[in-house]
């Protein structure tokens, strides 16, 4: 089965006055049809930028420097403006983190949803559009969808806004949904509902989902496959069970170990010493070197990506 999305050696750099920030520096992964793929990492790891780079939503001083993003066989990075416009919102839809700012506050819900349809040539006629929009809202379990269509965003709660955003994203039946921290701004109980909703919809529509998040718990609930990012690169990727329950990379291990709540003892949490290095000042060789309990001399050279057991990891100690 050929992958829906194949990313090879993606590099997105930001040229600032302080130097070149290599936000994404050689990232490769692939997502199959109908698959839920988690891209997890802490802040500054480059996961959001990776998501945006897939549809070239990078503004100066950032630039997608090199690499290939093959969507359904076509290279997104080489597309002309018209092809790109057809891709965005239609074949690939994005869901952003903050529901407060994702919707235009001065336009009604119906208008915004209709726009998403009309832009890609769907929804002929007012009644047809109305019907499609209402059905989409029903799908995301918004109560009283007909009324909600007439509402303005500020009349909706955060959770509802996010559902509207999801409904809009799905209007054109995209093959791939890219969701950047879609539930981080929501309360826990609402988060659960929205996540389960997204999972169900993706299964129903046969869409793939790229879920970008810092929350390992969310990833473990939602994803089929997971990639862990650190300082601009993927350090480990594989199936969910492989990465989360049998991690090979010391960073992944550390990250999972330092999660509180595993048990009720007041024992000190495992902590990864230090902080993620600034992307302007990365250590020579493996980026995790300065914080790694297993670091050695050989870590001065960046580890090659190894393939073990159908998974990939970049660490000298992974064998």
């Amino acid at each position: 089965m050929s992958a829906l999305l194949e990313v090879s050696d993606l590099r997105t750099w930001f040229r600032t006055r302080g130097g070149v920030v290599k936000a994404v520096d050689g990232v490769s992964f692939s997502i199959g049809g109908g698959e839920i793929f988690g891209l997890v990492g802490e802040s500054g790891a480059g996961k959001s930028i990776t998501g945006f780079s897939l549809v070239r939503l990078i503004d100066p001083p950032g630039r997608v420097e090199s690499g290939r993003v093959l969507f359904d066989g076509r290279d997104v990075l080489a597309m002309g403006p018209r092809e790109l416009r057809e891709l965005r919102g239609d074949r690939v839809a994005m869901i952003f983190q903050d529901p407060q700012t994702s919707l235009n506050p001065v336009l009604g819900v119906r208008r915004q949803m209709a726009e998403a349809l009309a832009y890609h040539g769907r929804g002929g006629g007012r009644r047809e559009t109305e019907r499609l929009c209402r059905e989409a809202l029903e799908e995301v379990r918004i109560p009283a969808p007909a009324e909600r269509l007439r509402s303005y965003p500020h009349q909706l709660s955060g959770g509802m806004k996010q559902r509207v955003v999801i409904a809009m994203a799905l209007l054109n039946h995209p093959a791939l949904l890219v969701a950047d921290e879609p539930t981080t701004a929501l309360d826990v109980t609402i988060q659960a509902q929205v996540l389960l909703l997204m999972k169900r919809l993706c299964r129903d529509h046969g869409s793939s989902l790229l879920l970008v998040t810092h929350d390992i718990g969310v990833v473990s609930q939602m994803c089929d496959r997971v990639a862990v990012m650190y300082a601009g690169r993927i350090v480990e990727q594989g199936s969910r069970d492989q990465v989360l329950f049998d991690p090979l990379h010391p960073y992944t291990k550390g990250l999972i170990q330092c999660l509180p709540g595993l048990n009720e003892s007041r024992a000190r949490l495992y902590q990864i010493p230090g902080v993620m290095p600034s992307l302007l000042d990365l250590p020579q060789g493996c980026h995790f070197r300065d914080r790694c309990p297993l670091a050695g001399e050989d870590c001065r050279t960046y580890p090659e990506e190894l393939e073990i057991d159908g998974r990939r990891v970049s660490c000298h100690r992974a064998k």
Binding site: E42, S43, R141, S157, G159, M160, D187, V188, T189, I190, Q191, A192, Q193, L195, L196, H214, D215, I216, G217, V218, S220, Q221, M222, L244, G254, L255, I256, C258, L259, P260, G261, L262, N263, E264, S265, R266, R268, L269, Y270, Q271, I272, V275, M276
Partner: protein, 330 residues
């Protein structure tokens, strides 16, 4: 009313309402706290957990005197302080300090770290310049801050370091109670662990009591002694940590626990079935606040708000169904 052995802080029946202008002509009342009673013993950690609108942050600020309660009393070491502004509280205020949620907003951007840390010393101690400097440096060491950072401004630091400054500011006066409002929520996971460890170390070393406000169940599970679950300005369940996690009694508590994405536990069916939004504190449901969303809802639940009752020794619950001993499993 739930209380522990030797109460450091006692909150009794506190109500707090805010009047807010929803539009130029319409004023709405936000019912932030609707009768909250809790207590904290010396050296213990009470975790207050809940989602938005539950009033946990408001309670923390009310305890500190930033909002005078509309009804109810607050006692610190048996002295009533509820209606006293921080300025009027004298020595008491020195004993309770706060750590705020947002490390990017809790430090004055125009003040050097040294200034920020010296201010409480200036206000509450009679130390001279040299004495203050010494104490500041001592505290920096305790929280893992390099003293050379004292000359810098907050924007030069990472979130984790700023929280260390906030913690330093909180403990520099040797308080007995620290109100920590989501102290690690804005931090990365690996930094969270560092800060939580630091807070536990400080607690062990100085016998601090914590009022730990959070929405993160994992954190609660790890470092609390007692837990109060809040919903729309009331405590719906209160117990010691072990009892609460073993047998959560209130339907909201169980919903909360099941909704947390946990690496070792898949989403439960309950979470999948849960519908409904959190009501707004401007528009409280009649009777039990959780009734609209509750799978165990009955007639009596809408008629009146149940009292907080002791279901088992030390385990309090505000639920009509629990009181009658009805089955907890629908």
């Amino acid at each position: 009313m739930p209380s522990s052995e030797v109460d450091l802080l006692r909150v009794e029946g506190v109500f707090k309402r805010f009047e807010v202008k929803a539009s130029p002509l319409k004023k709405v009342v936000v019912h932030a706290l609707n009768g909250v009673s809790v207590s904290i013993g010396r050296g213990k950690t009470l975790a207050l957990v809940g989602e938005s609108g539950c009033g946990k942050t408001t309670l923390g600020k009310t305890v500190l005197g930033l909002h005078p309660p509309d009804e109810g009393r607050i006692y610190f070491k048996d002295r009533e302080i509820g209606d006293l502004k921080p300025r009027r509280r004298g020595e008491v205020q020195k004993e309770m300090r706060m750590i705020f949620q947002d490390p990017y907003a809790s430090l004055n951007p125009r003040h050097k770290i040294r200034t920020i840390l010296e201010r409480p010393l200036k206000m509450f101690t009679s130390l001279d310049g040299a004495g203050r400097r010494e104490r500041v440096e001592e505290t920096c060491e305790q929280v893992g801050l390099d003293p050379s950072y004292l000359q810098r401004y907050p924007h030069q630091f990472s979130g984790g370091q700023r929280q260390r400054v906030a913690i330093a500011r909180a403990i520099i006066l040797n308080p007995s109670l620290v109100v920590a409002d989501e102290p690690v929520s804005a931090l990365d996971v690996s930094i969270q662990a560092q800060i939580l460890n630091l807070m536990m170390d400080l607690q062990d070393r100085y016998g601090l009591a914590y009022l730990f406000i959070t929405h993160d169940i994992g954190v609660v599970r790890h470092l609390s002694d007692f837990v109060g679950v809040m919903y729309l300005g009331v405590i719906v369940e209160y117990a010691d940590k072990g009892a609460l996690f073993r047998t959560p009694l209130h339907p909201y508590t169980r919903l909360l626990f099941s909704a947390v994405p946990d690496i070792h536990k898949p989403f439960s069916e309950e979470a999948a079935r849960m519908t409904g939004e959190i009501p707004s504190p401007t528009d409280l449901p009649p009777g039990c606040f959780f009734a609209p969303r509750c799978p165990l809802r009955e007639e009596e639940c809408v008629r009146a708000m149940p009292d907080l009752a002791e279901a088992e020794p030390g385990h309090w619950v505000r639920c009509a169904r629990n009181d009658s001993g009805a089955s907890l499993h629908p």
